[in-house]
């Protein structure tokens, strides 16, 4: 039980450590070029230059123009701004707002849509059929001319890849803007606003070895958004507050590296994931892959494990030195029944286990991962049966 061997971190979908190159990119803006980018003096100019360099680097990595990037303080802010900012824009013009989301969005989108609904917006949720987004329902929703469609690129709980190109094409046909939360896609799939019909894109730093509390909203047209914060007018007035220059530099460097390394890292993680997946399926009777048989991002393995309890399984894994999660990190610390899994497979009552791989996972860890997880499942199942 005592983890005498090196603990294994399998929760990269929750967050990742800052990589050295990123820390290095941030350092000059912390102490040396510490100025306020809004200041007119030399210190301000140096900070402003760093900020705009970061913006340009981020834009280049994503194939967009620098003036299409607004820095925020994270993925949640970007999602909130895309959804609620758009709704408030419509409300201000006395246009009845209407938000369309998939059923498996992150709470940062779903709760923002819920808030929008309380402010007078309609909210249509597009469901799934056997794990496949109901494109007919999307089409029907588009015909009502909604304000915005929001659909994540990669689902954080299962790794399911949403058909963004098709969704984007449908939105484009109807002239409806599409927002996509791509925080789990950057660095794993070719993501960019440039190569898909996405009008608004959420990125964050901490999922890709950048600093926490950093993010950006990439948008084709910021004029259709209203701010959620109020202050000194920074970031086009959409995210006022003195800019986090070091954070922006770190985010930009993290995105740059993630995009550059994506093909090789995705292949490595995919192979590792496949090995762990095959091993666990053979060792754990009844285990199933959530979103199995569908297109999945390479870094997430989500398993449905019948006759086991998620909370106990994760505690047992932690006690064995393996950090995993039940689906997503929830504030309560418990593993609340997943909306995503309910949407993908309403019949399922199994415990869910999410293993997410990344730079801290080595190829030779696979055997140990399989053994440790399988043993923890056995112990947990013995409890359920007792």
């Amino acid at each position: 039980m005592n983890p005498t061997t090196r603990p294994i971190y399998l929760d990269h979908a929750a967050t990742t450590p800052v990589r050295p190159e990123v820390a290095e990119a941030m350092a000059p803006a912390l102490a040396e070029d510490f100025g306020n980018p809004s200041s007119g003096h030399a210190w301000g100019r140096r900070a402003r230059r760093r900020l705009e360099e970061a913006r340009a680097a981020l834009a280049a990595a994503l194939g967009v123009r620098p003036d299409e990037v607004v820095f925020t303080r994270g993925g949640t802010e970007s999602d909130n701004l895309a959804v609620l900012g758009r709704v408030r824009h419509d409300l201000a013009r006395a246009v009845p707002p209407h938000v369309v989301t998939s059923a498996v969005e992150h709470p940062a989108v779903l709760e923002a849509a819920g808030r929008a609904a309380r402010e007078g917006a309609a909210h249509t949720v597009v469901g799934f059929d056997a794990g496949v987004l109901d494109l007919d329902a999307l089409e029907a929703a588009l015909r009502t001319r909604p304000s915005l469609v929001s659909c994540m690129w990669v689902n954080n709980e299962t790794g399911l890849v949403l058909p963004i190109a098709e969704i984007g094409a449908a939105c484009r046909r109807h002239g409806i803007p599409l927002h996509s939360d791509a925080v789990q896609a950057v660095g794993k799939l070719p993501v960019g606003r440039g190569n898909a019909a996405v009008d608004l894109l959420t990125v964050t730093g901490h999922k890709i070895y950048g600093p926490k509390g950093t993010g950006a909203l990439v948008a084709r047209d910021f004029r259709t958004l209203r701010p959620l914060h109020f202050g000194g007018g920074q970031e086009r007035g959409l995210r006022p507050g003195t800019e986090d220059v070091a954070g922006a530099a770190g985010l930009a460097e993290a995105v740059r590296l993630a995009v550059a390394e994506a093909p090789a890292e995705a292949a490595r993680l995919g192979a590792l994931r496949d090995e762990v997946e095959a091993g666990l399926l053979s060792r754990i009777p009844g285990a199933r892959v959530n979103a199995g048989g569908l297109r999945r991002a390479p870094h997430i393995l989500s398993l449905g494990i019948p006759e086991a309890d998620s909370d106990t399984l994760l505690a047992a894994l932690d006690a064995s030195g393996v950090a995993a999660s039940g689906g997503s990190a929830c504030a309560s610390g418990s593993n609340a029944p997943s909306r995503t899994l309910a949407a993908l497979d309403p019949e399922d009552g199994a415990a869910s286990l999410r293993l997410s791989f990344g730079r801290l996972t080595r190829g030779r860890d696979a055997t140990r991962i399989v053994r440790t997880v399988a043993e923890a499942v056995e112990r947990t199942r013995a409890l359920a049966a007792s």
Binding site: S310, D311, T312, A319, S332, S334
Partner: protein
């Protein structure tokens, strides 16, 4: 398996309050390998982010986590909502529906909390479960004896009579010899965030603080317990009307309309006629009580034996004689008349400091009316 010399691996139930925080700290100090656990018993529902309501469930979890982090012990949250709803909340609602006054904490301790934590603890390699209850466990030879807490004003043995006897030996109650003041002082000394947290008196699954809100949400609106009925005196004269007998508890004084009712107490609830019987205080006296749903933590007393029975939290145990002992229930007569015995409440049997067992009050005997 043991993490430290001489120590055991123990799972501590941490509610996020000061008591369980200190219990965890004391076990750590004693050299045990401690794992913290908080049970998520109830979802406060709705949109926590939106309502901004302090959600005691989440707050408790957060505080427990903070304390565990400070003590450098792991902490896990176990979702037991389903089991808790089935074993505790459903029973609570049904009991009020029957015109009785339940003790949900007893149900939770008896059926849910300890058993569940022991099972989960096994998976984590723990061989015992601890809690911050103010009771003592005497582990001398033979069966462990559950004793009242040293701090009589905090003693919680009343809530623990339902513990499965075979599990007693696996439990730990580190606070049993301390007073509340000592516990708070320790918490402050350790710099625990929970040191000055106010005492929680509320039922954990009644976020509004009024259990009638919960009943209204869980019983059909046409249920007799929520339907108007008559307030009558012991002779059957109608004194007024009430909005549902589930709002009453035997012994209570408030809530009875009308001018002269000031001194009136609820004597009885009659679910079949929806009547609430009220009368002057002396009519609350009863000669005996029948306690059912029994659990024994010591050999059951023979008929004719004297022992003490406590029928309310924070009230003295009353001397009584065992009139009859059946498999299902025990019949007791008080040596001196007792007042305000509410069916549904726990009747806990004591031999001196020791908890002999307990059950639920089924009915009273020899009421003066």
């Amino acid at each position: 398996m043991n993490g430290s010399p001489g120590g055991r691996r123990i799972l501590v139930a941490m509610s996020g309050g000061v008591d369980s925080s200190v219990a965890a700290a004391m076990l750590v100090e004693a050299g045990h390998d401690v794992v913290g656990a908080t049970m998520k018993t109830f979802c406060y529902g709705g949109d926590a982010a939106e309502s901004r309501k302090t959600c005691c469930g989440l707050e408790g979890i957060r505080d427990a986590r903070t304390v565990a982090d400070r003590l450098e012990i792991p902490h896990y949250v176990f979702d037991v909502e389903k089991e808790f709803a089935r074993d505790v909340i459903d029973d609570f609602v049904a009991e009020y529906g029957r015109g009785r006054t339940p003790n949900p904490c007893v149900r939770c301790n008896s059926n849910t909390k300890f058993r569940d934590l022991l099972r989960r603890g096994q998976v984590l390699g723990c061989d015992g479960v601890a809690s911050g209850h103010y009771v003592r466990l005497d582990r001398g030879a033979g069966t462990p004896r559950l004793l009242r807490g040293a701090d009589r004003s905090k003693d919680q043995s009343y809530f623990l009579w339902g513990l499965p006897a075979d599990l007693l030996g696996l439990l730990h109650f580190p606070l049993g010899n301390l007073t509340k003041a000592e516990v708070r002082a320790r918490a402050r000394g350790l710099g625990l965030v929970t040191a000055d947290k106010p005492e929680s008196q509320e039922i954990c699954f009644v976020p509004t603080g009024d259990y009638r809100d919960l009943l209204a949400g869980r019983l059909p609106t046409t249920h007799p317990a929520l339907s108007p009925g008559a307030i009558v005196d012991p002779r059957g004269r109608v004194l007024g009307r009430h909005g549902g007998y589930s709002g009453f508890t035997v012994g209570q004084r408030k809530g009875i309309g009308g001018g002269r009712s000031e001194r009136y107490h609820v004597l009885e609830i009659r679910p079949e006629t929806r009547e609430v019987v009220v009368g002057p205080r002396h009519l609350l006296e009863v000669a005996g009580v029948v306690v059912g749903d029994l659990n024994w933590l010591a050999p059951p007393p023979e008929p004719g034996r004297n022992l003490r029975v406590q029928v309310r939290y924070r009230s003295p145990a009353l001397a009584c004689t065992v009139e009859a002992l059946r498999r299902e229930e025990v019949e007791l007569s008080f040596l001196e008349p007792a007042r305000a015995v509410a069916p549904g409440q726990s009747g806990v049997f004591f031999d001196g400091e020791r908890v002999v067992g307990g059950g639920r009050v089924r009915r009273v005997r020899g009421a003066r009316r």
